[in-house]
C-alpha cells in the first residue's frame, strides 16, 4: 500500500527541507522525497498542489478524559478531534479517574487507543499517587507500561523535596517530568489573571509570580538533579525570561505554550464568558508578546494545546464557579496560521518545527521528520482555507472554546497516520 503526495510544498525543518516536491509513502513509512516521483503500481495519488506537506503534528498536552470522565471526552472522540485538527499524535495527561498513576491505567488507555484511536496516543503518567502531591506514583512501572513523561498536570507538586526525588527517580527512564507551575499559596481561589482587568471586574486574580516562583524552583531542581524538566503552558513574560536564562546556563529545561495564550489576553475575560477561564489564565498583552518572541527564538520549544474538554454544564453560569480549561485540538492550527504566521510574527517553518520535530524531540517520540524510513505521519495544510470556527462541528465531545465565530485563514487539509489518510 503506497501513497504519493504530488507537488506540495514540503516543509521538514528537521532535515532543512522547504521546497515543492513529491513525497512517496510505502508500508507506513516515508519512502522517498523528490521531484516528479512516479507512482508505483496501485498507489493512491494525492494532488497536493498549493498545500503544505509537514511532518505529522504532535500535541504533547491533551486531556482525553478516559477513563472516568467519558462525558467530557473519550479516546475515540479526542483522537478524532486531533486528526481533524491536523495532529497525528497526542500525549494525554494523567488526571483521569482513576488517575493514571499505575501501569494498569496506562494499559487501559493504550488498549482504548489501539481499538478506537484515530491518531497515536502517548500516555503521561502521574508524578504522585492520585495527584495528591504526597507520595511518588509507581514511576518505574508507568515508564515500562509506556508513559512518555510524568506530570501531575492540573496540580502543582507543592512539596519541593518530593519533586526533587521524582526528578531523581525518573532519571534512568530518560523521560521528562512536566511541571504545572502554579504556587497554590500565591493564588488561592483565583479565577483569572491578577491585573487591571481583575481589579475592574472584581474577579480574584492569580499573579504572574504564582507561575514564575514555580518555574524558578523547577529550573533550580532540574539543575540540582540533572533531570529534564518541561514546563507546561508557559504564560508570563517573567517565566519566558526564567526559561531563557536557565537554557543559557545549560539547565535541561524546556517549555511549551498554548495557542490561546498566544492569541488572547485577559481583556477577553471582561465578558465573563467561562470559556475564557483556564489555568494558567489569559495574561496581559505584554506577556503575549514575550510568549511569541520566546516561541520564535526557541526559548519555548513547542506549541501544545492543553485540550481540556468540559461539559456545557461545567462551563456555563457563574465565572468563578466554572471549570478551568478549553478545548484546543480543532482550533490550534488555524489560529496559529492566521494569527501568528499570516501577520509575520512567526515564520511558517518555525511553526511547523514547533508542532512536529520539537515536541517529538522533547518526549523522545518517533515522528517529527519526513526523512526516509520515518513513520509516515504527515500533516497537510491548506494555507488558503477560509473557515469560521463552529463549535457545533467539533469532533470533540465538548464545545468549550472562546473561539466560536472566529474567521480564520489556513487550516488542516489532510492528516496521515502511519501512511493511512485518517477519514473522519
Amino acid at each position: 500500500m503506497s501513497l504519493l503526495l504530488k507537488n506540495g510544498r514540503v516543509i521538514d525543518p528537521a532535515n532543512s527541507v522547504d521546497a515543492v516536491q513529491d513525497l512517496l509513502i510505502a508500508d507506513g513509512k516515508i519512502e522517498k522525497l523528490g521531484k516528479n516521483l512516479a507512482a508505483p503500481a496501485g498507489a493512491e495519488v494525492v494532488d497536493a498542489r498549493g498545500k503544505l506537506v509537514c511532518p505529522g503534528f504532535i500535541d504533547i498536552h491533551v486531556h482525553l478524559r478516559e477513563p472516568g470522565y467519558e462525558y467530557k471526552e473519550t479516546v475515540a472522540t479526542g483522537t478524532r478531534a486531533a486528526a481533524a485538527g491536523g495532529f497525528t499524535a497526542v500525549a494525554c495527561m494523567a488526571n483521569t479517574n482513576p488517575v493514571n498513576d499505575n501501569g494498569a491505567v496506562t494499559d487501559y488507555i493504550l488498549a482504548r487507543a489501539r481499538v478506537e484511536g484515530a491518531v497515536r496516543v502517548y500516555p503521561i503518567g502521574a508524578v504522585t499517587k492520585n495527584l495528591k502531591g504526597e507520595e511518588l506514583a509507581e514511576l518505574a512501572e508507568l515508564a515500562e507500561a509506556g508513559c512518555v513523561a510524568f506530570s501531575d498536570d492540573g496540580k502543582c507538586v507543592m512539596n519541593a523535596g518530593l519533586y526533587r526525588r521524582a526528578l531523581e527517580y525518573t532519571l534512568p527512564f530518560g523521560v521528562p517530568v512536566i511541571s504545572h507551575a502554579e504556587d497554590a499559596t500565591l493564588c488561592r481561589g483565583w479565577a483569572m489573571n491578577e491585573g487591571v482587568v481583575s481589579t475592574e471586574i472584581g474577579l480574584p486574580g492569580a499573579p504572574a509570580a504564582a507561575e514564575e516562583v514555580m518555574v524558578a524552583r523547577d529550573i533550580l531542581l532540574a539543575e540540582l538533579t540533572g533531570a529534564h524538566v518541561h514546563i507546561a503552558h508557559l504564560s508570563t513574560a517573567g517565566a519566558v525570561r526564567l526559561v531563557r536564562d536557565g537554557k543559557a546556563r545549560g539547565v535541561r529545561v524546556s517549555a511549551e505554550v498554548t495557542p490561546h495564550h498566544l492569541v488572547l489576553t485577559e481583556e477577553a475575560v471582561r465578558t465573563y464568558d467561562p470559556n475564557t477561564k483556564m489555568a494558567p489564565p489569559l495574561r496581559s498583552k505584554r506577556d503575549v508578546e514575550a510568549l511569541i518572541e520566546g516561541l520564535a527564538d526557541g526559548t519555548i520549544d513547542c506549541v501544545a494545546t492543553d485540550h481540556a474538554p468540559h461539559a456545557l454544564s461545567e462551563k456555563e453560569g457563574e465565572f468563578d464557579r466554572a471549570a478551568f480549561g478549553i478545548v484546543g485540538l480543532e482550533t490550534a492550527v488555524p489560529l496559529l496560521l492566521d494569527r501568528l504566521v499570516r501577520p509575520g510574527l512567526l515564520p511558517l517553518p518555525t511553526l511547523v518545527a514547533r508542532l512536529s520535530h520539537d515536541p517529538a524531540r522533547l518526549l523522545n517520540l518517533p515522528g517529527g521528520s519526513l526523512a526516509p524510513g520515518a513513520p509516515a505521519d504527515v500533516t497537510i495544510l491548506d494555507p488558503e482555507r477560509e473557515l469560521t470556527v463552529d463549535p457545533a462541528q467539533f469532533r470533540s465531545k465538548s464545545r468549550n472554546t472562546p473561539f466560536g465565530g472566529f474567521a480564520l485563514t489556513g487550516g488542516p487539509w489532510l492528516t496521515i497516520v502511519g501512511g493511512t489518510v485518517v477519514r473522519l
Partner: protein, 313 residues
Amino acid sequence: MGWTRKDLLTMRELDAGEIVLLVDTAASLQEIATREIKKVPALRGKTVVNLFYEPSTRTRTSFEIAGKWLSADVVNFSASGSSTAKGESFVDTAKNIAAMSPDVVVVRHSSAGAAQLLARELPCSIVNAGDGAHEHPTQALLDLLTIREHKGHFDGLHVAIVGDITNSRVARSNIHGMRKLGMTVTVAGPPTLIPPFIQELGVKVSHRLEDAIRDVDVIMMLRLQHERMQNGLIPSLREYSRYWGLTLDKLARHARPDVLIMHPGPVNRGIELSPEVADGPYSVILDQVAKGVAVRMGVLLLLAGSKGGGDTP
C-alpha cells in the same frame, strides 16, 4: 434625556447624564416616604422578583419597599431553602423565574458577573443588587444622592473610600460614578486590601488613614469582613481598628469640620467606625439607607415604567 437601557448592571457602563437622571428621579421620589399613604400606582400590574443568592437584609428590604410603594407585586426568592439547595443551577433557577414573566429581576450573587449573565439569558430587566466584588450600582446611586443633598453638587468634591477595597463592589461602583461626575477619589487601606492597578481607575491611593481623610469632603468607610484575618491580609482586628478605625479624635485632628461620614452597612461598630462616629454629627449613614428606597424606586420606575403601562406618580 431619557432612559433606554433594559438593565442596570454597572456604574461603569453609564454616562454622566444617565447617572444624573437616576439621581434626579430618585430625588423626586423621596417625598413619597413622607406621605401618610406611601403608595403610588406607577408599577401597578408589574412584577418584581428579588433573587438573592447572598444574605442581605437592608438591600433586599429596600428593593421590596421600593417596589411596594410603586404598587408592583414583589416576590422574594432567597437561595437558602429553595431549589438551589436541590442542586439546580443559577441559570436554570433564573430561567424558571423568567418563565413566570416578571418585569424586573433584582439579583444579588456572590459571583462577579452574575448580573451580566442573567441579562444575557433573560428577557426581563435585570437590576444588579451586588455581584461578588464587582459592582453594586444602586448603592453608589444612593451614596451619590446623599452626597448631593448634603453638599449641593458633585463637581470638585473629594471623597476618601477607606477599608477593604479589594473585595468591595461598593468601592468599584462609587469610583466609576464619582469619577464620571467630576469628583476626586482617594482609596485608602493597608496595601493588602488595595487591589493592584487600582490607580488605573483614576483614583489616588493612600496607605495612611490620617493622610487619606485630610481635606476631603466625604469619608466612606467600608465594612471589614472578619475572614480577611484568616486569609493573612491583616494581622488582627485590634490592629486594624487601631490604624484604620475612624474615631472622633482622628476626625477632629485630621478631617474638615464639614466632612460627611458614610458607610454602606452593616457597620462593625468599634472596628472601622467607633460608635461615637457612627452615631455622631458627621454621620449620614441612616440617611443613606432612607435614600436607598428612593433610588430603588427610581431604578424600578425607569426600567419597568419606561416600557409603557406604568403611570408616572
